[in-house]
C-alpha cells in the first residue's frame, strides 16, 4: 500500500533528512516512532503529498505521488488518505455534520449522509452532529477527527501524535476505536507518535532513531 525508496528532503536550504525505505501492506497498522526532530511529521507529510521529496519515490496505493502536481496531489490526498492531527482542527463556522460533509465535497464526491451516520453511530457521536466544534470536549472532537479521516473511505489513515493531549482513559479509548474501525474498514494505519502508551497496542514499528 505504501512503498518508499531512498526518500530525501532538503529544507531550510541546507538541512537534509533521509528516510529508510518503507513497505507497508494493505490493512496493516504501524507505529512511527522517533525523537523530536527525527522527521516523523515530515515523513507523514511526504506520504500524504503535502511535501514533495527532493529525491526518492513514494508509491501510495499504486500511484507514484512524488510525480503528481500540486493540485493533483491535493485531490489524491483528499480521496485516498485520511489525516488525523495532533490537535483537532475543524472549520469553526460549520457544525460537525457539515464539517464531515464538507470533507466529502472537497474530495469531489457527493455527500453520503448514510455513510456519515454509519460512521458517527460506530463512533457513538451521532447525537452531537449538530453542534459546533467549540461546543465539544477534546475526546468528542477526537472522535469526529477519526470520523472525518474515514469519511471519504480512504485506503490509508495517517495520524500525527493523535494521543499527545489525551489522558490515559481517552488515550486507551482512542487506540481501541482507531484500530477497530481501521480493521473494520480495511484501512492501512500509520501513527506517528512518541507516546509509549500505544506501544503495546500496535505490533509493527518504524523507528526513525535507528538510522
Amino acid at each position: 500500500m505504501i512503498v518508499t525508496k531512498d526518500l530525501k528532503i532538503e529544507y531550510s536550504g541546507s538541512k537534509q533528512l533521509s528516510f529508510q525505505n518503507l513497505s507497508i501492506n494493505e490493512g496493516e497498522q504501524w507505529l512511527l516512532k522517533g525523537d523530536s526532530g527525527t522527521g516523523k511529521t515530515t515523513l507523514l507529510h511526504l506520504l500524504s503529498g503535502i511535501l514533495t521529496p527532493t529525491s526518492g519515490s513514494i508509491k501510495v496505493n499504486g500511484v507514484y505521488i512524488n510525480e503528481l502536481g500540486q493540485s493533483e496531489n491535493d485531490q489524491f490526498r483528499a480521496k485516498n488518505i485520511g489525516l488525523i492531527f495532533q490537535k483537532n482542527l475543524f472549520v469553526s463556522s460549520l457544525n460537525m455534520l457539515n464539517n464531515l460533509s464538507v470533507a466529502q465535497k472537497l474530495a469531489g464526491s457527493n455527500v453520503d449522509e448514510e455513510y456519515i451516520h454509519h460512521l458517527t453511530d460506530e463512533l457513538n457521536i451521532t447525537k452531537l452532529i449538530h453542534k459546533r466544534p467549540h461546543e465539544l470536549s477534546q475526546g468528542e472532537q477526537q472522535r469526529f477527527s477519526i470520523a472525518r479521516a474515514l469519511v471519504n473511505q480512504p485506503k490509508i489513515i495517517l495520524a500525527d501524535e493523535p494521543t499527545s493531549s489525551l489522558d490515559n482513559s481517552n488515550c486507551n479509548r482512542f487506540a481501541d476505536i482507531i484500530s477497530q474501525v481501521c480493521t473494520m474498514h480495511k484501512v492501512t494505519l500509520l501513527i506517528a507518535t512518541h507516546d509509549h502508551r500505544l506501544d503495546s497496542r500496535i505490533d509493527n514499528l518504524i523507528n526513525l532513531n535507528q538510522q
Binding site: S48, I50, S71, Q75, F85, Q86, K87, S92
Partner: protein
C-alpha cells in the same frame, strides 16, 4: 459551488465584522448612487427642457440669463426685442422655425408665457382637460400650476406684474382658463401658456421693459396706466400743434415722445417680445447665425447647449467633491475589508491548513478569500441600490421642486459601479488571499 458555501459560512460566523464591512461599502456606494441619479435626472430634465431649441435670441445681456429666463423660466429676462427685429431672424434662410416668447406677468409665482401653439407642440404637451387657448386672454395651465393654484377650466384669474407672487395686479384684464395640460416632467408643467397678443393686451401698448421692472411695488403705476392719464394731455398738445400754437417745454417733450411712438408703430406697432426660440434648418447655422446676430444687431443670440455646459461645469465642482468623498469612503471600506480579512486569516490559519489538507488546492484557497471579498462588496452594492432608491423617494417627497424623477431602473453608472465594487472587494482580499496561497501547511501543521 462548495467554495461559495464555505465562503458564506465563514462570513456568517463573524456577523459583526461582516456587517461592518457591508455597511461601509453600502454608505460609499449609496452616495455615489444618489449623485448618479441626481445627475441623470438633471441631465434628462435639461435635455427635455431644451427640447431641440438651437438658439435663443433676446435683448443684449448675459447669455446665460437669456437661456435661463427663456428656456428654463428660472431667471429674469434680459430685456425685450422688437418684433420687427425678430422677424429678420425668422426670415433667415438657415432658420427652420421660430417660437416667440413674451414674458411679463405671473400668477401666484407661475409665469404667464405669451407664445404660439408651436411652443406647446415642441414640448409635446397634451391636454389633460379642456381645450387649447384660441382667443386672446385665454390660457392653458401646466399640470403643476393647476394643481398648486387650484384653477380649473372656465376659471378666471389675473396676472401680477413681474415674476414675484406679489406686485402690481392687472385686475382689469382677467385671463380665462380653457385647458389644463398633462404632467410631462418638463418646464411646461410650471407655465401658463397664452398668446403673445394676450401679454400685449394686458400691458396695453406701452413699450417699456416689463421684464426689467419686476420689482414693481404695490401702488406704483405701470407706464401704460400713465399713458391713459396722458391721453387728454397729448390730445391737447396735438390740437395745439395742428393750430400752430406755441408749446411749453413739458408739452414739447410729450409731443416728441408721442411722435417717437408713432414712428415705431409704423413698423409693427411697438409690439415686443422677450425672446425668440430658434430652430436651425442646417447645422451650418450654428456657426454663422449667432455671430451674425451678436455682431450686427441690437439682439444677442445664445445657444442653450453651450450656456448649459458652462453652468454645469460650475456645478460640476460640487458634484466632483461629493464623488471624491464617496470614493474615499469606498477606499476606507476596502482597507477595512483588508484588515478584517487579514485578522481572520491569522486567527483561522489552522483552518486554512485543514482545508488544504482536505483537498482544497492552493488556487482554491486563494479563490475562497477572493470570493469572500467579492461577496461583501456585492452585498454592499445590492444594499446601496436599495438605499439609493429609498433616499430618492424621501428626497423627492421632501422637496417636490427638485424635480427628481423616480427612475427605479438600474442606471448604466450603477452597473459600472457593480464592477468597480467587485474589483475593489477582490483587490482588498488579494493580499490575504495571496497569503493563504503561499501558506506552508507543512510548517503550520508541524507547529500544532
Amino acid at each position: 459551488m462548495e467554495l461559495l458555501k464555505l465562503a458564506v459560512a465563514q462570513l456568517r460566523a463573524k456577523p459583526f465584522n461582516t456587517f461592518l464591512s457591508i455597511v461601509m461599502f453600502t454608505i460609499g456606494m449609496s452616495i455615489i448612487g444618489v449623485l448618479m441619479h441626481f445627475e441623470d435626472s438633471a441631465e434628462k430634465r435639461i435635455e427635455q427642457d431644451i427640447a431641440g431649441i438651437d438658439l435663443v435670441v433676446g435683448a443684449k445681456g448675459s447669455p446665460l440669463q437669456l437661456i435661463l429666463s427663456s428656456v428654463f423660466h428660472a431667471d429674469y429676462p434680459t430685456g425685450n426685442l422688437n418684433l420687427v427685429d425678430s422677424e429678420k431672424v425668422k426670415k433667415h434662410p438657415f432658420v427652420k422655425k421660430t417660437i416667440p416668447i413674451a414674458l411679463g406677468d405671473n400668477h401666484k409665482g407661475y409665469r404667464i408665457v405669451g407664445t404660439t401653439k408651436d411652443y406647446a407642440n415642441n414640448y409635446k404637451a397634451e391636454l389633460q382637460e379642456g381645450d387649447w387657448n384660441k382667443q386672446v386672454m385665454e390660457v392653458v395651465l401646466g399640470s403643476k400650476v393647476a394643481a398648486q393654484t387650484g384653477l380649473k377650466v372656465g376659471d378666471n384669474f389675473t396676472g401680477v406684474h413681474g415674476f414675484m407672487e406679489h406686485g402690481h395686479s392687472h385686475d382689469q384684464h382677467p385671463y380665462l382658463v380653457t385647458g389644463v395640460l398633462k404632467e410631462k416632467n418638463s418646464v411646461v408643467d410650471r407655465l401658463i401658456l397664452t398668446q403673445v397678443e394676450s401679454v400685449w393686451h394686458v400691458h396695453g401698448q406701452c413699450d417699456h421693459d416689463h421684464s426689467g421692472e419686476h420689482e414693481h411695488e404695490h401702488g406704483e403705476h405701470c407706464d401704460h396706466c400713465a399713458h391713459h392719464h396722458e391721453t387728454p394731455a397729448i390730445d391737447k398738445v396735438l390740437e395745439k400743434v395742428k393750430n400752430n400754437e406755441e408749446l411749453s417745454a413739458e408739452e414739447m417733450q410729450l409731443y416728441n415722445e408721442h411722435k417717437g411712438q408713432l414712428s415705431e408703430r409704423t413698423y409693427e406697432a411697438n409690439e415686443q417680445i422677450t425672446s425668440l426660440l430658434v430652430f436651425f434648418k442646417s447645422p451650418l447655422a450654428a456657426t454663422t447665425l449667432p455671430r451674425m446676430i451678436n455682431q450686427n444687431t441690437v439682439m444677442q443670440a445664445a445657444s442653450p447647449a453651450i450656456e448649459l455646459n458652462r453652468l454645469m461645469s460650475l456645478l460640476g465642482a460640487g458634484f466632483t467633491t461629493l464623488r471624491i468623498l464617496a470614493w474615499l469612503i469606498i477606499a476606507f471600506s476596502a482597507i477595512n475589508l483588508l484588515v478584517h480579512m487579514l485578522n481572520r486569516l491569522n486567527q483561522e490559519l489552522y483552518e486554512l491548513a485543514l482545508l488544504r489538507s482536505l483537498g482544497v488546492s492552493r488556487f482554491k484557497s486563494l479563490l475562497l478569500l477572493l470570493t469572500q471579498g467579492g461577496i461583501l462588496a456585492l452585498t454592499g452594492w445590492g444594499f446601496s441600490i436599495i438605499t439609493t432608491r429609498l433616499m430618492l423617494v424621501i428626497l423627492s417627497t421632501l422637496n417636490t421642486d427638485l424635480g427628481i424623477s423616480l427612475n427605479n431602473a438600474l442606471l448604466k453608472g450603477e452597473v459600472y459601479l457593480l464592477f468597480y465594487a467587485l474589483a475593489i472587494g477582490c483587490l482588498s482580499a488579494l493580499i490575504p488571499a495571496v497569503k493563504a496561497y503561499n501558506t506552508n501547511i507543512h510548517y503550520l501543521l508541524n507547529r500544532l
